[in-house]
């Protein structure tokens, strides 16, 4: 039962990665921080260009489609739509490169 040759899932079965099904409170905190950082970049670019009376198509599209961190529901901050998952939601940390891509909205109807 104890000692170096005890039978555990990872020893007997080889590769076993355990990815928790939900984020920890600190992961959630950092996720919110990253969302706010992107909002900050958007705001800075908007203000800087607005002083010159200019705007961007991509900027307008982002602002019309994407909610800011404060406007988002916790559900959308920490989980995302998945058509194969039970009840159609999975943790956002299952998304490849999830700390460096923007994933804020759901498909229509979800």
């Amino acid at each position: 039962m104890f000692g170096p040759f005890r039978i555990t899932n990872s020893l007997s079965g080889g590769l076993l990665w355990k990815i928790p099904w939900r984020l920890s409170p600190t992961q959630k905190f950092r996720q919110r921080k990253r969302l706010r950082a992107v909002d900050q970049v958007i705001a800075t670019v908007t203000n800087a260009l607005a002083k010159k009376g200019e705007t961007l198509k991509s900027l307008e599209r982002w602002k019309s489609e994407m909610p800011t961190e404060a406007e988002m529901l916790p559900r959308d901050k920490y989980t995302m739509f998945d058509r194969k998952a039970k009840r159609y939601r999975k943790g956002i940390h299952k998304l490849p490169k999830w700390t460096r891509v923007s994933q804020r909205i759901n498909p229509p109807g979800f």
């Binding site: 950082a37 970049v41 800075t44 800087a48 260009l49 002083k51 200019e54 923007s102």
Partner: protein, 98 residues
């Protein structure tokens, strides 16, 4: 004329070629690198492509390489936080242990 001060905050390892190409076009080759570009629509669009990876500020003028280095350099010399005598609180009562 104002400028964008763009700092590469997150690495682009494993991200698409197009994203890395945008960073290269901005002149951001490693994390922590700071570049200045004028506030123009084309640079705004490039920032939008890499908005998750960079931090952006609007500044009045670009800093030279020398000024950037100086801003990172710690102050010379030292300062005394607590005088040595004040540190020995128990001295008056004769409780100083060695």
């Amino acid at each position: 004329m104002s400028y964008f001060r763009i700092t590469l905050h997150r690495s682009a390892i494993g991200l698409p070629k197009r994203t890395r190409a945008v960073l290269a076009a901005l002149g951001l080759h490693r994390r922590g690198k700071v570049v200045f570009h004028p506030v123009e629509a084309q640079f705004g669009g490039m920032i939008m492509k890499v908005k998750e990876l960079v931090t952006v500020e609007e500044v009045d003028r670009p800093l030279t390489k020398r000024e950037l280095q100086d801003s990172r350099r710690p102050e010379k010399g030292f300062w005394v936080e607590t005088a040595a005598r004040a540190g020995f609180k128990g001295e008056e009562e004769g409780e100083v242990r060695l």
